[in-house]
Symmetry: C2
Subunit: 141 residues, 2 copies
């Protein structure tokens, strides 16, 4: 019954942090979310109250540790999501209502290779961000 929680604690520890209540809450909250969340949304969403400053700090350290990924969408504050290493997914954002849907398989490797060859100033490519903008079914009507 505590299995899930225990796993999270382990994740946190192996990243070099102490498994505290706020950090467990944050990870388990992000795990449940199915789209990236802003700092504010996280603060408001956590059932057990956690100070905003603490959320900023956790996100910052988790980002550095590679547990969390920052997502920058047009005209919005940065948002954050769990960085499951293998889960190379991206986002389609509705430009009207800001609804976010994931999509997978961006097949970006070829482009990365091409870009690297075409570059005079870069030695390596370590990551990418790729998002689509459009209209969701509701807003398109």
């Amino acid at each position: 019954m505590q299995k899930e929680k225990k796993d999270l604690a382990e994740v946190i520890r192996s990243a070099g942090f102490r498994a505290t209540r706020p950090r467990l809450s944050l990870l388990s909250f992000l795990e449940k979310a199915d789209f990236p969340l802003s700092i504010q949304e996280i603060v408001d969403g956590l059932t057990r109250k956690v100070d905003q400053v603490t959320v900023y700090r956790m996100i910052e350290s988790f980002k550095t540790a590679g547990l969390v990924r920052e997502v920058n969408l047009q005209g919005d504050r940065p948002k954050y999501e769990l960085a499951d290493a293998e889960n190379d997914h991206h986002h389609i954002v509705c430009t009207k209502c800001h609804r976010v849907e994931d999509f997978v398989g961006c097949g970006v490797e070829r482009i990365e290779k091409k870009a690297l060859q075409g570059s005079r100033q870069f030695a390596a490519i370590t990551g990418h961000s790729f998002d689509l903008y459009g209209l969701c079914n509701t807003c398109a009507k």
Copy 2:
């Protein structure tokens, strides 16, 4: 000799704005820049002093008018660049020193089509953002 300036004024007017000194400065500055700039960089870079508030307002209205494009890169404030409609280019960003280089040909059309077919919630795709992160030659050493 005034040819260039005159063109810019025309661009501004056809977007529905008055061709004022600050707006001309901004456009001509962005034209010279070869990577996206933050609000602060613009304010500091304009030779003829323009109030920060005015820069915010110009960028906002130019963005709406489609003259300027907002670029959101990892962990940075938003940056802005001229939105030459045909110039569908993207950025490679050094994760250490934040140097930015452009690259072209992202060949994203196929991916867009695929994503749209795979989506249950989206009706149309109108744009995309695509950026690469890596290490520049200097920082890779």
